[in-house]
């Protein structure tokens, strides 16, 4: 369940990044790096407008636009769809670092609570599952990290980390390999390995176009490549702000319907 945390929403909504740090010493430990990544990826609050574009196996595209809100360093998140008309008004609420998820369907005014297993379902047919959209501290809570070395991604010097799933973890991925920008601790590439086979690359997330917004470095573009299905889903920020004061009432059933 808590595998949710490591992927996107942080990266997405909330994202990102903080710290205007300087280049770190090569002696930095893997645990320290992953703590900084977690810190960077979980701003206190955020509000953004995002566009998600899915490229299907038949090369058709599906585009969604939604508002995304995040509070308590990603512990609470809310997404509200604006486009297309088919899903307009639909909203998804995640509390307790995505351990609890509800979906609101405006045409029936019905709220449905999702169990953990339902988080494996693709969100609107994208390459992101509900699980992927969660937020929190999963990199720390669910995985044991190891520094493999250094390398270059997108012409940036990066730490290369391997995150192995802990025995008690319920994450849907057996292993992650992550390239973290040495300067600002933004992960630039994350490889996700299959649940049952730690040598089988399932998905690859690439984060790019990093801009500093409200003093927080933010990857404006994220693309998830599904290496097994040969599909991809991109997400980009149309608007984002971290200087917001979101009411707790927004992250309730009432807030979903409003």
């Amino acid at each position: 369940m808590r595998s949710t945390r490591y992927t996107l929403f942080l990266l997405l909504v909330g994202c990102l990044c903080a710290s205007n740090g300087t280049a770190q010493s090569v002696t930095i430990s893997a645990d320290t790096i992953i703590q900084k990544v977690t810190q960077v990826m979980n701003p206190a609050q955020s509000k953004g407008k995002m566009q998600m574009t899915i490229v299907t196996t038949s090369k058709k595209t599906r585009t969604f636009v939604y508002l995304a809100y995040s509070k308590n360093h990603g512990e609470k998140t809310l997404m509200k769809y604006l486009q297309p008309s088919r899903v307009k008004g639909q909203s998804i609420l995640m509390l307790n670092n995505a351990d609890d998820i509800w979906i609101y369907f405006p045409r029936t005014r019905r709220v449905r609570k999702l169990a953990t297993h339902a988080k494996k379902q693709k969100m609107e047919g994208s390459d992101f599952s509900y699980e992927d959209m969660g937020a929190g501290d999963a990199f720390i809570e669910e995985f044991k990290s190891r520094l493999l070395g250094e390398g270059k991604k997108q012409d940036r010097l990066c730490y290369k980390l391997e995150l192995t799933r802990m025995a008690e973890s319920t994450s849907g991925y057996s292993k992650l390999v992550m390239w973290v920008d040495k300067e600002n601790f933004v992960p630039l590439v994350i490889d996700y390995y299959h649940d049952d086979d730690s040598t089988l690359l399932e998905k690859e997330l690439v984060l790019s176009d990093i801009k500093v917004i409200d003093k927080i470095p933010t990857p404006m573009q994220m693309v998830m490549y599904n290496r097994l299905d040969r599909t991809q889903t991109s997400m980009e920020f149309l608007e984002v702000s971290y200087k917001v004061n979101l009411e707790d009432d927004l992250f309730t059933e009432r807030g979903m319907k409003k």
């Binding site: 585009t63 297309p84 008309s85 307009k88 045409r107 169990a115 649940d195």
Partner: protein
Amino acid sequence: MKRLFGVSLLSLVLITRLSAQEVDIFGYFEPQFTVIYLDQNYYQLQSNKLRVDLKSNPDENIEFGANFDWLVYHGKREWSFWDFIPKEVTSSVDPYRKARYRFTYDDRSFLDNAYLRFTCPSFDLMVGKQQISLGTGYAWNPTDIFNVKDLTDPTYEQPGHNAARIDWPLRNGFAILALYSPESTWENSGKLLRLKGRWRHFDFSVIGSETEWTLTDYNYPYYNLASFHRRRLLGGDCVGELLGLGVWAEGAYNFVKDSKDFWELVVGGDYTFDSELYLMLEFYHHSLAKSDYRQYDLNDWLRFFHQEQKSITRDQVCWLAQYPLTDLLKIGGSALISLSDGSIAFIPTVLYSLHENLELTLIGNINVGKEGKAYGSNQGHSLLLRSRVYF
């Protein structure tokens, strides 16, 4: 009807013209084609539905929402419930009464929902015609006194109900809902009070409601004799997770004045596999329904068809499976299985996303039970093709 349609359309155009800057307009168009195989004959029924939604926020704390529906039918519009009732039952009824059980798919245009919602600091007040969704069950909702779901398509939108409701959020995920649905008198109006809460990863609610329940005697010699009973319901529901499975339960006891009390219970569970195969199983019990199919009589069948009673068979399950064959194509199906009489209805479904705002849906309905049972083959089989384009 045409005049009404014209007036409605004109009103809509005027509204949208006058306040196009402030009113959000959306909706869908839904043509539907159904083939029915009944008593060795094939029939066709087509419908075209246009739904136009309006939404506006004149103020930050005020929301206006409405939708108009236009529905036109073609093909075989005249039907009789008589044709769906086992011959063993109808053979003992005077044939001249057959005319009483006819129904027609008439063209309709109507205001389905129209409401105002006021958001106050500590509560929301919503007045007007509005959808009311109650309960955690998928196919059946014992606590819902306002709606009865179509078992072949339980997630289809329900009609609006005239009501005033207050949603009052409390602390820690708790909330109170108070609802009043006015009819001609206080006594026959709908009243509802619900306390909703959260415990660990479970949501639960306790509900009490009162309404007037119409029960018709279709066996009365001269006409269908309706009687009205005060129905008081006490029930509750919960939804959460147990041993990795999604689980829910919903139950209600009904105190009925001058008629039999009854109770309903739903228990369900679901699971999604790594392959994204989704499986669901839901059990439903209705104490007023009969357990021996040989006792189903004319009133049982017609009360079920008219949705006065949610089930004709006492114990049954709904089994559902869904699987995304591709990223745009989802196949699945459900089976309604009467545990009381052993009959089964299969409902295969296919959902294809042709465009991001255009969906195609195929729904079959195959009754394989012995004639006279809840899902007897004498009720025929059908295939429905629906396309829906959103705007």
